[in-house]
């Protein structure tokens, strides 16, 4: 299998962008990634586009607007992990020798408020069972019931991520908040308050992947930034039986031993990359809600089961700590454009590994992990190294 590297990254800031279409935003991100990689028209052999709400042939619209079509363009939907799924497909194809250079993009333009999803049956909506934040709240409540996590910890995650997001020009929210602000925001579903939930929004991100050592750059292009190795890009779905799984079943078994999809993906990603959680220097993880970040600590093996509150309290996961988590500000600061969120994490981590992350730089970062999980269930884990 051939090694795969990230040759270029591009991003359209996450936020609210009025009349800008998914095509407009995707074009911005793809142009940025192509320019960094020194790749132009004819310089890539396939494209994978992560999107959940973009509609038919989103990837074709973006690349068509750039006059760069003819190669296979595949839209990939895997909920919050759509970008991870696109990365998995692209990197596998390069590793297998099918392509040398592939564009991976993610784009989304989401409505405000609770997201309506075709995932639920109409009767589930009618019965009030399609209440997405309520499932997040039940997961949070179980975490609190089975570990030392309190509502103060949930607020502390938001305070941490919003503080880190101040340094990210691509984030939607760039103002610090206090725990009092968070706990004083409207109660959505006990124990989750409004500011503990990320905002669905709009944005795009893209990367150019290529076979390590291959000369994908067009003649005359600059040397560009040092490449970052894509050491693993893994997608997994859920196993049956867990009632609070992101697959949102209506029932599950009285069995707490079902391995969550994040853990399934992480185990494979660590093995592929030849690293363990103790080797990581920086992590971007799914913080759809504040409790989800703490759950991710456990599911990714960043701490022992039940020890997420201790890890947060220790300061290890804050910028300046042993293993900063969500230095970009996370989805709590950036907002969550579903199809773009995983690639947004990868853009952040490539910047971190190149030493280009400015005020939020993790000094000396060489091993980074990106994690997304959501409806399906889909869980994506990506490991990047330099």
């Amino acid at each position: 299998m051939r090694a795969v590297e990230v040759a270029g990254i591009g991003i359209h800031p996450f936020g609210r962008h009025g009349d800008r279409t998914v095509t407009d935003m995707g074009v911005t991100a793809v142009r940025g990634a192509l320019a960094e990689a020194g790749v132009g028209r004819g310089g890539f052999q396939a494209a994978f586009c992560g999107t959940a709400y973009g509609g038919v042939a989103t990837g074709h619209k973006v690349l068509g607007a750039l006059g760069m079509t003819g190669m296979p363009i595949v839209d990939v939907e895997a909920g919050c992990a759509s970008g991870s799924a696109a990365l998995m497909l692209a990197s596998s194809a390069i590793a297998a020798g099918q392509y040398d250079t592939v564009v991976v993009l993610g784009v989304e333009k989401m409505p405000k408020g609770i997201i309506r999803s075709s995932f639920f049956e109409p009767w589930q909506e009618e019965a009030g069972l399609a209440a997405t934040p309520a499932y997040f709240a039940l997961r949070a409540a179980r975490l609190m019931a089975t570990s030392g996590v309190t509502k103060d910890h949930l607020a502390a995650v938001v305070v941490k991520n919003r503080r880190q997001g101040v340094g990210n020009p691509d984030a939607m929210f760039r103002a610090e908040v206090t725990a009092e602000d968070v706990l004083g925001s409207r109660l959505v579903c006990e124990p989750l308050h409004l500011w503990m939930l990320c905002s669905p929004n709009e944005g795009a991100a893209a990367v150019v992947l290529r076979a390590a050592g291959s000369s994908g750059a067009r003649p005359g292009a600059g040397a560009g930034p040092a490449p970052v190795r894509l050491a693993a890009a893994v997608l997994r779905s859920h196993l049956p039986g867990a009632v609070l799984s992101e697959s949102t079943p209506l029932a599950g078994l009285v069995d707490d031993s079902v391995v969550p999809p994040t853990t399934l993906a992480a185990r494979v990603a660590y093995e592929m990359a030849g690293v363990g959680p103790e080797d990581l220097h920086v992590v971007e993880c799914q913080d759809t809600d504040a409790a989800r970040e703490l759950l991710s600590y456990e599911e990714l093996g960043l701490c022992a089961p039940g020890a997420a509150a201790d890890l947060l309290d220790s300061g290890a996961t804050s910028l300046g700590g042993r293993l900063p988590v969500n230095p970009s500000g996370g989805l709590l600061s950036k907002g969550e454009p579903l199809g773009a969120s995983a690639l947004g994490q990868v853009v952040e981590l490539v910047r971190q590994l190149r030493g280009e992350a400015g005020p939020r730089q993790v000094p000396g970062a060489r091993v980074a992990l990106s994690h997304t999980v959501g409806r399906g269930a889909n869980a994506g884990v990506v490991v990047l190294t330099r």
Partner: protein, 135 residues
């Protein structure tokens, strides 16, 4: 009328229409032709009447997409003696008035009145004082 056919029987007493797999002996809900745990096609329909115990709960304070009933409403998971954890509405919308582990009975509750004037019903769990039988 039920919000969906094949989900529950109105009773009294009400019951959930669940599946029981002859292959792995697990229950699932709603009933499906294939067992979601072991893929066996030997699934029998069974009625689950409760009572159960509250496992985790919250309340929904804003109407989610496609929902026309009242808010707030309770939302949670109840463990049934058959080894099944079931997601459902709770009749108690104030989380502080419920505690995990307390007995919950099955109920059928109105959601809203549809365009043709029919009352749409769903299953829900209500606080009860009947102790569930041991598994």
């Amino acid at each position: 009328m039920p919000v969906r056919a094949g989900l529950f029987v109105e009773g009294p007493p009400p019951a959930l229409l669940a599946g029981h797999c002859r292959g792995c002996a697990n229950h699932h809900f709603p009933r499906q032709p294939v067992c979601p745990y072991c893929s066996a096609e030997t699934v029998d329909e069974v009625l689950l009447r409760g009572p159960g115990r509250l496992w985790v709960h919250t309340a929904v304070t804003a109407a989610p997409p496609g929902y026309e009933g009242e808010v707030p409403y309770g939302f949670g998971v109840v463990e049934l003696p058959e080894g099944l954890r079931v997601v459902g509405r709770l009749t108690e919308a104030e989380p502080a008035r419920l505690r995990p582990g307390q007995p919950m009975v099955l109920a059928v509750v109105p959601l809203h009145v549809d365009d043709e004037g029919r009352e749409v019903l769903t299953y829900a769990f209500a606080p009860g004082d009947t102790e569930p039988r041991d598994r």
